[in-house]
Symmetry: C2
Subunit: 509 residues, 2 copies
């Protein structure tokens, strides 16, 4: 996808600028940054300016990186400082010899520019772009241009299929012996909407194959992998995942260890920063992960509500049509379930608090949140039907009620490395109603923010516990929700935000 | 343009996270970066991830910045490390108290997204966007999306006018007492095309007002300001510029000290990284600087050639129409001169080497490069005509020949702070023809690269001196060009590149 352009790398094989690697311990997420002294020999000779794209070599390994220049004594003249992402990708140790030069031209950028000017993508062009994206050859500026171009020049069905195929192609894939491989996914997320462990337990208890790979939170207070991790290990490699699924039919593991559609992980961060994701990109993002995971049938939970990702029923329908059409091309059967996205699901928001809700539902506890149970049953019913098991939601409810789902879940946890008890928070404080009335609105985004300020998802026990739902009648002084934190500082911070934002819950007469 | 969204800044006035500023001496160009320990109280409490946008306050000063997280002992838990751009904008000294919080929502981003989806910009929307751009509220990702949107949804004339007006509006402007204020500008640049000092000298010698603000090189081996600086000081403030122009009618100074269209400086870097600049953006970029500088008449030199910025005559004409139409709206008279962009101009490429050519032309030296002289006369002729002085190029040639231009140039240099002699390089080496034949092609981009590798523009005396032009008949072993460098290392590096790229000059039988 790249070729040497004679623009700086080509010095007749001479390697005249050996430098020493130094780990700076700077986390830049996926971006590869390097730091060099502005007055070092290489910067002067190469004519590098700050922010230049450079090629860094360590033995046979080579990456593209963004260069920043140091004007202080942070680095010696012969040192190159590395961000963590760059350090890992070059497998460096301190003092290793590295060379820095002008990078080859990234040929696929001209394809990307073509799209900006209105040319359509084909299979080969998206393959080229995704290859370069995954190889780290696109800076954030290039990624932003790609994402913007795909929104300004909306991808048609063929292009969306091509993007999905390319995203699958540049990552790893999994295959399964059974003919039907079930999956479920929630689009956009909703605080507390942790149906996955329950759905997997029900489906696996009914004999279906449902190898669920989940993500950690990126901007939310908990991802399914974070919640599941409070109940069992989730960082399993391919072979371990395969063993769990062979034995129990299902799993709930972190997908990061298997590099399914790694381009998605890179693009999604830029899409969020821009708050742009076209239907085509969203479909490719969701479906590339499912296809790479080897799924044949997927139930897509699509919450719709004013503070959910998808805000109107009409937008949801357009999205659904697109998802189904693209999935079909890959022989993947997709079923969309529109769900209520007007308020959080269950009581807990945060890894351990959500796990507690999940366990209450699985254990048929009287205190189990009914909305979480009902949603899980509805989604599991769709999964069962897609899997060819008659009875749908009725059957799912039965398997949950008679304890088979709970036993299956325990076995899955054991197979993943042993069941755990979710941790309990050290600090708690209630937020009370300032006046009486009926709960008329809950802001999903700001309630999630309170949970994050309290420490979720890093502090597993942190988050919030909701005591009311839309329509609940409250008296003045009645507790609306409880903030859970691991440290007093986080608790204070979260409380201050909650106090300053009483309208997160709208209470009207 | 922003408003507090209740998303993190609003803690009822409590200021619970005071940190200490530390200068890291990292040059990131205009981008404001800060660095904090991942495990510090603020990152944990705020739920900041690496790459988050944050708001940083120091007393009454506030900026938006991009946060990177440190996992090593580079920083203490209560320290915030700053990039140079962030440090300067907050006017910090080591140990100052700063606070870091979630930034207010940048409202104009939704306008930018509207453009992505096809809505047109109006005056107010571009004003809002440019205000936020200049305030540093757009990350590179946002800037890239803006630039891409303006290319994918090409700006029409009204939008281009609105963008130009907004870019002028967010910067400083200059005004002049004379009714006609002349200017000239070369679009895209061409190595060695340093006509400006000559044109200014001729026009000022004829009594015109021509207060020329120039830029330094961004990616080229020399900008006009770099070249001029080898002959006279160029870093003058507004008052000093005004005094020079009042006294001599003209000047050639660096524009950076007067913040004319500062948005352009920010956008142009991203446009170059993407290699995207739509006609609308190019027009706004060029003309906003001229309008802000108070020009009433401008001659635009538009080199056309296969390795110039504008590659075909047709592209040049489209661009020219756009430039003239936008300029007209602002009462700015623009005249376009299409020039030969197939090869470098003059002999020297690099600040001092180009200055030597300029001086040779001004001094009527027998060795003066004819092409530089002819181009300067042609452009000066257009400037004179626009300025209402009859005779055009003939008159310009006369003023040059009889020494008036040279005397005026010396007076301008004295007024700017004193005339200087351009420095001479320490190291030189000739590049010889490998075989005989006729020079059929010169790659502007790669010849510029040789000059940069030799140290230009930082090393003022560095660069290259061309001994041949298109059509020159050469013998095997004849010197084609001489590399000038200040240090042996740069010379070697430049030589290695030149040796590995013999086709920079195409010699055919």
């Amino acid at each position: 996808m790249t070729q040497h352009s004679g623009n700086g790398n080509d010095f007749g094989g001479r390697n005249i600028h050996v430098m020493r690697a130094r780990r700076l311990g700077i986390d830049t997420q996926h971006e590869a940054f390097i730091f060099m002294r502005k007055d070092c020999h290489v910067c002067r000779a190469e004519g590098f300016a700050a922010h230049a794209r450079v090629e860094v070599r360590h033995g046979a390994d080579v990456i593209d990186a963004t260069l920043y220049q140091v004007t202080s004594d942070l680095l010696h003249h012969n040192e190159v400082g590395f961000s963590e992402a760059a350090w890992r990708r070059l497998a460096l140790t301190d003092g290793d010899e590295v060379t820095v030069s002008h990078p080859p031209i990234v040929e696929s950028l001209s394809i990307m520019r073509g799209k900006v000017y209105g040319r359509r993508f084909d299979d080969a062009s998206l393959q080229a772009i995704m290859t370069d994206v995954v190889a780290g050859r696109y800076s954030d500026i290039h990624l932003a241009a790609f994402v913007t171009a795909c929104s300004a020049r909306e991808l048609d069905l063929d292009e969306t299929v091509a993007l999905t195929r390319a995203m699958v192609g540049v990552g790893e894939t999994m295959t399964w012996p059974s003919a039907k491989v079930l999956d479920k996914h929630c689009i956009g997320g909703l605080p507390g909407n942790r149906t996955t462990p329950i759905v997997v337990a029900i489906a696996a208890a009914c004999g279906l194959t449902i190898p669920k790979t989940s993500s950690r939170a990126i901007t939310s207070p908990a991802g399914t992998a974070d919640t599941m991790e409070t109940m069992a290990p989730v960082m399993l490699d391919r072979d371990a995942i395969r063993r769990v699924v062979e034995r129990e039919g299902g799993c709930v593991v972190w997908g990061g260890a298997v590099r399914l559609s790694p381009a998605d992980d890179i693009l999604i961060r830029v899409e969020r920063a821009l708050d742009l994701d076209s239907g085509g990109q969203l479909a490719a993002s969701v479906l590339s992960k499912k296809i790479a995971a080897g799924s044949s049938h997927v139930v897509l939970d699509l919450p719709v509500g004013p503070t959910a990702k998808v805000r109107t029923r009409m937008a949801a329908k357009v999205l659904a049509r697109n998802l189904i059409a693209v999935a079909e091309t890959f022989g993947l059967v997709a079923r969309i379930v529109y769900t209520d996205g007007t308020q959080p699901v269950g009581r807990g928001i945060g890894p351990a608090l959500e796990a507690r809700d999940v366990l209450a539902v699985l254990q048929n506890s009287a205190a189990a949140p009914a909305d979480l149970r009902d949603r899980a049953i509805a989604l599991a019913g769709e999964v069962l039907e897609l899997g060819g098991i008659a009875g749908g939601a009725g059957r799912a409810a039965e398997v949950l009620r008679d304890g088979r789902a709970w036993r299956k879940f325990q076995r899955i946890c054991e197979a993943q490395g042993g069941m755990r008890t979710p941790p309990v928070s050290q600090h708690r404080r209630d937020i009370h109603a300032r006046h009486g009335g009926t709960v008329r609105g809950i802001d999903n985004r700001r309630i999630a923010r309170v949970a994050k300020l309290a420490g979720a998802p890093e502090d597993k026990a942190a988050g919030i516990e909701l005591h009311v739902r839309l329509g609940t009648r409250v008296e003045r002084g009645q507790p609306l929700y409880t903030i859970h934190a691991e440290a007093a500082g986080e608790l204070d911070y979260s409380l201050a935000y909650a106090a300053a934002n009483p309208d997160i819950l709208v209470i009207e007469d």
